[in-house]
Amino acid sequence: MSALTLTDLRVEINVEGRCLAPVDGVSLAIGRDECVALLGESGCGKSMTALALMRLLPEGARVASGVLELEGESLFTLPEAAMRDVRGGRLAMIFQEPQTSLNPVMTVGQQIAETLAVHRPEADASAVGRELLEAVGLPTERLDAYPFQLSGGQRQRALIAMMLAGEPEVLIADEPTTALDVTVQAQILKLLKALQQSRGMGLLLITHDLDVAGDMADRVAVMYAGQIVEWAGRASLYAQPHHPYTQKLFAVLPRLERRGQRLDSLPGRVPAPDAVIVGCRFAERCPRVFERCRNEAPELLETAPGHAVRCHLFSPPSPSGGGAGGEGATPAQAFTLYLPSLPHPSPPPEGEGVVLRLTDLAVHFPLRQGLLRRTVGHFKAVDGVSLTVNQGETLALVGESGCGKTTLARAVLRLIEPTGGSVAMGGEALENLSGEALRRKRREMQIVFQDPYSSLNPRMKVGTILEEGLLALLPELDRAARNARIAQLLDQVGLPADALQRYPHEFSGGQRQRIAIARALAVEPKLLILDEPTSALDVSVQAQILNLLADIQAARGLSYLFITHNLPVVGYLAHRVAVMRGGRIVEEGDVETVLTRPVSDYTRLLLESAPGRGLTGVSS
């Protein structure tokens, strides 16, 4: 018996007279003691589904059809007043951002009491509050703390405590750990899993991370373009993904074992919500598309007990006999995981030619207090870091947020003035340079940022953006030479030539990141600092960008300082890795050694916390 069943949900949005359906025919069931993961890339409609379950859809969107039953009670037909009792009580939801989900001017205790007052008025607020904080692993005195006094992980715990206050039968968690560090993520996931099991709750976990879903879920629903394309038990799905899209999702993941292989890529984009699609929604991007896919939409059909898939490869031949192509592809073919093993273009690191050498680099921010802003101490963001990056090599700098890795990157570029130590680029120390000499040196190192949305000026055309560095650093080039170089760059990063006359907002996240890479490459640097260049992107786009970076390195012999928190990416791409914590390097070495036989406890903790390992080594 399921705690929550959703049948044929369709959500519609009216935009300027047109009717879009971001969720179209989604059916789900969550058992009483079960964790279901709703997995999908951005824009597939998974958050919209969650909001529809809570009946909290944004203005303009509405549930057009579908039935939602919680323990046999139909929720979509309830009047709003009755729904308020369900919401936060029997059905609760945790949001992604712990920063904004808590009211900053109320203590944790007050916010828990607020939920209690609505759903369990008879309960003693402070006693229950303490009990709940213990359950989520927070010290009970935190009841009087304000959200700003808590760390991100503690806030998420407090939020979970709030949601548990109504004793929900089903808890919906919408990307509950995306904003958190990997070690904290592991703790929160473990906590959610433990609470779900001990309380006998249903848990709907919405995530984009295959590994997180694999660690947590009993059953997984894979969503694509507003529909569930595959719905199966965890073991069955991870052993044999059926749908070509799910297979692709697995194939694009970077891993240590995939070093030297080109990552598989998923060309194209998710169809726009207003696109008119006759056949399968994945047909345009599917490697195994055949004629029937374009003419007839597939149904979600059970292929094995408990394993359903929406794909013509598994459909019975169409009754009309029109889908002749279906006979060519037997289901047996689909069971092999498609994994290409193209030679990785990247050369092995040759110890010669140090491009960047950091010696005891330090960045201390003064802490000031009082009316006269006296310096009372220093925050040591970067505290004596020594590193070298060789030519043609990728050095990964790994660490959690606040460890100083971004500050380090900016200090290397002299965007922040270092307070001590030395940065040497190609053997020449940077700290003594100023004015024109520094500007010339900037040609040799460039940076690509994390967020492709804020790294491009929204009011400049792509052509102007790419030209800017050339104008500033290579003024000797004339217009024709500049245009030739820009055209070549666009070609290299795989953008169409007409991109020059368009504005950044017309491009997708992955394309913007390509523009940002092209911009950095324009001045032909020797070192590229990549500050989390793929963490804002979907996994399929991430694979494209990682392939592109590998190609560029092979073609130009470029060195990368790759800053990230994502260990699988490090394992896939980097030659050497340095682990950073609290402004210092705690471990450094070649990738295979560090990732398989770590010396420092912190590296081991990071590795164990990484999703995909079953959360076994994590203490909650």
Binding site: P458, R459, K461, I465, E468, A472, H505
Partner: protein
């Protein structure tokens, strides 16, 4: 007649020439011309542009000044009247010359107050005297019988001048100092913040009053330079604009500083710095375009504020010259009219309607311009 060029006329025509040169330069540059085309495609854009154009046309006509030649007296050189008239005055001669005795309601046939009249039979009685020009005053007449429509039309030039010139003085200060404070931070920020905090802590009216009085003393000391009453009033208006601009930049500057504090940490600015792009270029290419929407909205909203500020200043006695037609003076005059019984409402109503239409049109137009200049909103409007 002899043409008269007041200082404010010169500035206004210079401004107009600047706009013409800009338009000329933009004529063949698609990327500059397209946003304006887009504005002109929308009905709201067309309508508001038309209204604004009408207001500006009236303002410009009112800036073509001249002095009439008095009837020749034989044996003497030609004499010119001391009264400075404008092209608008000439066009609106009927309005200007149809003067009643005192208040009359819009389109009335009789005066607004009863007077003792002697009838044809010689009997004295209290009644509303008939107007000299019954039914011709669309918006009624004021205390001395002047047509309110004429006063309103004459006030447009003052309003536009105050709005435009003050903004011209204020804008470079606000843009330059606000963006510089936000971007450079540190000492630069400290100094600029100190300046605008100091300016803000002095009551604005006091500062303006002091400045206007100083100018007035100077004008009287150099009476030879300003031969007509119009010239004196004009200098006072310019001084008022200048001082309002010098004190009025702080609000926008603070807004821009805050926005730039946010923008300068954005990665596209960091990327530009990594290219070694010079600071002034970063200010102009990366920061200024990204705060333009704030500037546009603030300036247009401030425009109505400035015209109203002029009314307050007139009340204190340091506004434009009392003899000069302005919305401020009209509103100021309405203060006493509203205290009468029955209430004389049309002068206030006329000032209100004219200002409302002007500010509304400017607001709608600015909205459209902002949308058109924002690449993200492209094609939506």
């Amino acid at each position: 007649m002899i043409p008269v060029l007041l200082w404010s006329d010169a500035l206004l025509f210079l401004l107009l020439a600047g706009v013409f040169i800009l338009v000329w330069a933009m004529r063949h540059r698609d990327w500059l011309r397209d946003p304006w085309r887009q504005v002109m495609k929308s009905r709201v854009g067309q309508g508001s542009a038309l209204i604004l154009a009408a207001f500006f046309a009236i303002g410009l006509l009112d800036s073509l000044h001249y002095r009439e030649r008095l009837p020749d007296v034989p044996g003497k050189p030609a004499q010119y009247s001391g009264e400075v008239l404008s092209a608008l005055d000439w066009l609106a001669t009927p309005l200007r010359e149809r003067v009643e005795k005192t208040y009359s309601a819009p389109l009335a046939t009789h005066l607004y107050a009863k007077e003792t009249l002697k009838g044809t039979d010689g009997v004295e009685r209290r009644d509303y005297p008939p107007l000299k020009y019954p039914g011709t005053h669309l918006l009624g007449t004021d205390k001395v019988g002047q047509d309110v429509l004429y006063l309103s039309l004459k006030s447009i030039r003052t309003g536009l001048l105050i709005g435009a010139l003050t903004t011209l003085v204020m804008l470079p200060l606000a843009l330059g100092l606000g963006i510089a404070a936000g971007y450079f931070g540190g000492r630069v920020d400290d100094v600029i913040q100190y300046v605008y905090t100091t300016l803000n802590s002095i009551p604005g009216v006091l500062l303006i009053a002091a400045a206007v009085l100083v100018v007035q003393v100077q004008v009287e000391a150099h009476a030879a330079l300003f031969d007509t009453a119009a010239a004196r009033a004009d200098v006072r208006l310019l001084a008022l604009c200048a001082i309002m601009g010098l004190t009025g930049w702080t609000g926008l500057a603070r807004l821009l500083r805050g926005e730039v504090l946010k923008l300068r940490e954005l990665e596209f600015v960091q990327a530009a710095r990594a290219f070694g792009v010079r600071p002034l270029r970063i200010l102009a290419r990366h920061l200024l375009p990204n705060v333009m929407h704030l500037v546009l909205i603030t300036v247009v909203l401030d425009f109505s504020g400035l015209v109203l500020a002029e009314a307050v200043l007139s009340y204190v006695g340091v506004g434009v010259d009392p003899a000069m037609n302005s919305f401020g003076n009209m509103i100021n005059g309405a203060r006493l009219e509203l205290a009468r019984e029955p209430v004389v409402w049309w002068q206030l109503a006329a000032a209100f309607v004219f200002m409302f239409v002007l500010v509304l049109a400017a607001n709608l137009f600015a909205d459209k311009v902002r949308d058109a200049l924002d690449p993200r909103a492209g094609g939506k409007t």
